[in-house]
């Protein structure tokens, strides 16, 4: 009887010892190690963010942090994306990383009330600011240049690069025309009021 108890108690003693060790370790040794890991558990490295911001000041920090976070912190991938697409995806609204106070973009919160993600406008995003002709000089949408006429008829090319360029131009024209129209509308409304 006592023999049997003896044999049982050795493994249970070992278990108890292991359990105690773990408990002590849990209470006394893990605390410091859980509080020290990275300050921002799933955030991007602030230095990386800064680096991208200096390269592309027109892109919002929030977008950059979001993109870095999604691609595992690769500056190269984020840069590539900005260069290829002229901008980054807008992060979801729920994504509000801590942004240094000095760095908050001045465009934030332009309109009261609704939730406003800090979206970059299309002119900035597609890099069209240089192509906005002065509004007064071109009152109607761009019928002036011959190349635009040409693009109406030729839309498909068998050359891959040409196709890409044509698509790009159609996108740009669409945005620029929309902007011109809106500006014209605003002017008319202003004219009516005064």
């Amino acid at each position: 009887m006592s023999d049997q108890q003896q044999t049982l108690s050795i493994p249970s003693l070992l278990l108890l010892a292991a359990f105690t060790a773990l408990t002590i370790r849990y209470f006394f040794f893990t605390k410091p190690s859980t509080t020290t890991p990275r300050a921002n558990p799933r955030g991007a490295n602030p230095a990386d963010v800064e680096q991208v911001v200096t390269m592309f000041p027109q892109i919002g920090r929030r977008e950059i942090i979001w993109d870095l976070q999604r691609n595992g912190g690769s500056i190269a991938a984020t840069t590539e994306r900005i260069l290829a697409r002229g901008g980054l995806d807008a992060p979801p609204l729920s994504f509000q990383p801590p942004i240094p106070a000095s760095a908050t973009p001045s465009t934030a919160g332009t309109s009261p009330g609704q939730m406003k993600p800090a979206h970059v406008d299309l002119i900035t995003r597609y890099n069209l600011s240089s192509k906005i002709s002065s509004p007064l000089s071109t009152p109607s949408d761009g019928t002036g240049t011959g190349s635009q006429r040409g693009s109406q008829t030729q839309t498909w090319s068998n050359n891959k690069n040409e196709r890409q360029a044509l698509l790009q131009r159609r996108r740009e024209e669409m945005i620029l025309n929309a902007r011109k129209k809106l500006e014209e509308k605003e002017r008319q409304q202003l004219g009516q009021r005064t």
Binding site: Q114, D121, I123, T155
Partner: protein, 167 residues
Amino acid sequence: MASTIASRRLFHEYKLLTSNPPDGITAGPVSEDDIFLWEALIQGPDGTPFEGGIFPAELKFPKDYPLNPPSMRFTSEVWHPNVYPTGLVCISILHAPGDDPNHYEKASERWSPIQSVEKILISVMSMLAEPNDESPANIEAAKMWRDRREEFERVVREGVRRSLGVS
């Protein structure tokens, strides 16, 4: 094998959409190196608060397209009952016939290989004009659309102006 079918079909659709583009829609691959990722620009339909706006969206196609539909996400701000705050578009044509969690969609409205990118984009355009408040993706926008229509329209118009950089 499936992905070659998918890329051929996508290329074909790209060609059709380019040679004969529907009004107010420009769409194509972001880069032909990856035919499974497209960018589309949709013009806001006339006679709606979205009028005059240009709404860019990203379409991601599965490797087994056209068996399964792409996902579509607006990459700019779109305040609309059927667009999640993340930009993800929620309409029946983007749902595979199999999955209908809410059981309100008719099978004929859902995705099938006879649909196309063009049909998706046209459906999204008409969704902008006529929100469906049976399946709100953006609850706040849906409430505002239902109860405070004027405010809804004002918010949308402001978004349009902001997105075109006119202020």
